[in-house]
């Protein structure tokens, strides 16, 4: 059908926006993801207060099985696993989003620059991006952390730097399509400088793909932080971080039947990553990607 040559009333636009929101709210998987994430964010903020026992205390019997007093059992140092799972959300939910933010901001900037300027700038930066992408994340991260010494800040910076090129590819593709549009030429013909055209004119129009990409990256960031922590480069003891719990206790799996010390923190990580990906899927559907 051809377009109707009338003015769409502003109310209609609002209706369309409400429609989008409703579409998200109606999506069961999206909502499930949001609820799980909300739960862990709540735990990250209030975990120490709502935990039945002190997550750091070693005052309890060691390696107890599941019981009413210790729903998830205790570990080899006599700490309550249930309390530690509740409190363990905090560090990862600070480090992973910050790393993602850094990666998305950096990647968006690189993507805008390469997509907007093209030519030599694009060729040089894109080859560097390709080189970074060809190396496994953990290998780069471990190398850098060993070289610079590990701190939480370094973890954030390393993951952010590794993610930036990945994000930049998505952004670059979106920018290349936008750049063809006449409003970019019109803006240049007003004498706008490149940074204005990139950040004020083009950026708002590529926001959809960036939001989706950021959510997907957050899922990977949680994995990466957990992986580095497990290897001893990330969050440091005595934090009740999930990956630290696994690192502390996984050797017990071989020795006998102390599965609860590892299973519950592992389930916590899985639930968070899956939830983030459910949200990413929902956003991708709505932003039409």
């Amino acid at each position: 059908m051809s377009t109707v040559a009338t003015i769409v009333q502003p109310s209609e636009i609002r209706i369309a926006r409400r429609e989008t929101r409703r579409q998200l709210l109606r999506s069961k998987t999206f909502m499930a993801g949001v609820i799980i994430i909300a739960f862990w964010v709540f735990c990250a903020i209030f975990g120490y207060r709502i935990a039945p026992h002190d997550p750091l205390s070693q005052a309890f019997p060691q390696l107890q099985g599941l019981s009413r007093a210790y729903p998830f059992g205790t570990d080899q140092l006599g700490r309550d696993v249930f309390s530690r799972v509740l409190a363990g959300a905090r560090d990862i939910l600070i480090v992973a989003p910050l790393a993602t933010l850094l990666g998305v901001v950096g990647g968006t900037t690189i993507g805008l620059v390469t997509g907007y300027f093209r030519g030599l700038t694009d060729d040089v930066i894109s080859r560097i991006v390709d080189a970074v992408l060809s190396l496994p994340l953990i290998v780069i991260a471990v190398t850098v952390l060993v070289a610079l010494g590990h701190s939480t800040l370094t973890v954030i910076v390393v993951i952010g730097l590794v993610f930036a090129p990945i994000v930049s590819r998505t952004v670059r593709a979106a920018v290349l399509a936008e750049r063809q549009l006449d409003y970019v030429s019109a803006s240049r013909l007003q004498g706008e400088r490149a940074p204005y055209v990139m950040f004020v004119e083009i950026l708002p129009n590529v926001f959809g793909p960036i939001v989706v990409e950021a959510t997907v990256r957050l899922g990977y960031a949680i994995f990466a932080v957990a992986g580095l922590t497990f290897l001893g480069f990330g969050v440091q003891p005595p934090s009740p971080d999930w990956a630290l719990q696994i690192a502390d206790n996984y050797t017990l799996l071989g020795a006998g039947t102390y599965w609860w010390t590892v299973l519950f923190p592992a389930l916590a990580i899985i639930s968070l990553v899956v939830a983030v990906n459910l949200v990413a899927d929902g956003l991708a559907r709505v932003f039409g990607r």
Partner: protein, 686 residues
Amino acid sequence: MTDRGAAPTLELKDLEVVYRVRGRDRQVVRGVSFTIAAGETYGLVGESGCGKSTTALAVVGYLASNGRIRGGSICVAGRDVVGLSNRALRHLRTNDVSMVYQNPAEALNPSIRIGEQVAEVFRVRGAGREEALERTLQALAKVQIADPGSVMARYPHQLSGGMQQRVVIAMALANDPGLLILDEPTTSLDATVEAEVLDLIQHLQAEFRTSVLFITHNLGVIAKMCERVGVLYAGRLVEEGPVSEVLKGPRHPYTVGLLRCVPRGGARKDRGRLDTIPGFLPSIDEELRACVFAPRCGLAQDICRATEPPLYQITEDHSSRCYFHERAQDLPRTTPPELGQPILVDRSKAPLLAVKELTKTFEQNGRRIHALEAVSAALWPGETLGLVGESGSGKTTFARAVLGLFAPTGGTVELDAHVLPPTLSRRTQADVRELQIVFQNPDSALNRRHAVRSILRRSLKKLAGISGAPAEERLLMLAGSVRLAERYLTVRPNQLSGGLKQRVAIARAFAGEPRLVVCDEPTSALDVSVQAAILNLLVDLQVQRWVAYLFISHDLGVVRYISDRIAVLYLGRLMEMGPAEVVFDGPHHPYTEALLSAVPTIDGGGRARIKLAGEIPSAAAPPTGCVFHTRCHRRIGAICDEKEPPLVEVGPGHLMRCHIPIEELRRLQAQPQEAAQVAGTKQPAA
């Protein structure tokens, strides 16, 4: 041609179509009735949103999933097709009805070779593999594809738009349908290619005796192709009759208005404004109980707003849905015809813009594309230079190089006698302010994330250096000067209609005091009534501000209306340039002559068609000698193939690049055209 005795091929009775949008039925087609006799060509005309395409889709049962036929009947060859099962509908589409859409590139599957794609139509109807391929070959030959064997082996993207549309037509005619529906089949094609395709359709229709439902917004095409025409407005058939009667003696104010909007018959800006149709098409959820056109009609009386007029029978087959059909042609003008002051361009002074030997070569996959070859032109304040030529002729490249959007390979652009740096980033803000542009597609020209107010305020800041409180005042003045109501300033562009968006784009270009504005097909995405309003606005602004326009358009009527001088480009070379009347009235360059003859006019008759052989050659390997010699109908011999003719002055301010002397051209073009011959009879192979 028409056989009125037999049962009509298509008969619509009180057809009502609704689309369900957000839980409510919105009526798009409101009780449309017409019949198409066997072998007849029926035109359906009206602006976008009037329900033309919806009507056609209803006939073949291809309505969108939220569309539904609420009432009335559709009979194809005497059989009601409303409510047919999917199976029966498929049978109908296989055997009785075919449809050709506007964009052939989207109608063909990009990953299947042409031969297999067309053969499939025969296979569906039961032919064996060998037979289907054999018949494909014949079908492609029927649509005048010169080398069907090689075309069958190619993929759609390897064919030009005109060739693709021929293939689509071949597929549509493969089942020898009783009814062929053509929905804007030539709108996306160049004028010369359009003329070829229209000729082909006429020829095939005579041969197959197919009935045709021809949907278009172009009244000239209707005049050329159709026997009868129906005028649709807001889903209502408001006038119907034989084409000559409706176009020469319209009896409905909407038809009268439409005809007045089109610049034609040599209309020029200095002889007055174009008339327009005020207001907007009613939105689809409005309840229309009275005359659908009354809110926009200059003749409307109380009765028009109270009850719907019946269909008045004016002659046996001419009818109009208007109480005042006898006075329709007295419809008062909505815009005063007089311009405020006459436009007198003084060319004895130094020109505003002087372009010298502008050349642009693009590198593409190791090939050099010669987009522009040493084009020189000058523009004086207050005048319009029209740029015409087929796609690929270098019009847009020329304009963008002047603006500095990319650097030319050679040549200079001078503004007020100082040479401008080649690219925007090197030009001073003062230079940047002088040159502005209005793009073809306002959707892409306005940032959809910014409100109209912020778009215009930024332009005022950059182009006029005004910000803060004074900017608000200037903003309102600016909006007023392009007749943009204040309430539209707060919305985003996607909430505006095409015409309003184009006004915003014009306002942006005029935010400073530009001396030269490039208009790159500024009206071709708009309906004719909106086009007329935008052209009037551009002319008013020119008269008030003494701005010069570089006006690109493929619509020669529009170019003639607005231009003082015209430049004709072919393969990046200037073929002819001169005062508008001289270029249009001739003697013209053979290429200009062919371009002019290709345009179907509402008034009909006029020039005989000159068929240009083949398609525009590749700019990567332009022909030797005169670049036009491969398609020229007046080629005089070896000199054309070997030696490029110089651009010489053949009259006052009239330049031409042709080996034939002007007097000879004058004599040749005065002769009747029937002998005009196609130079190379073969389509180029690639």
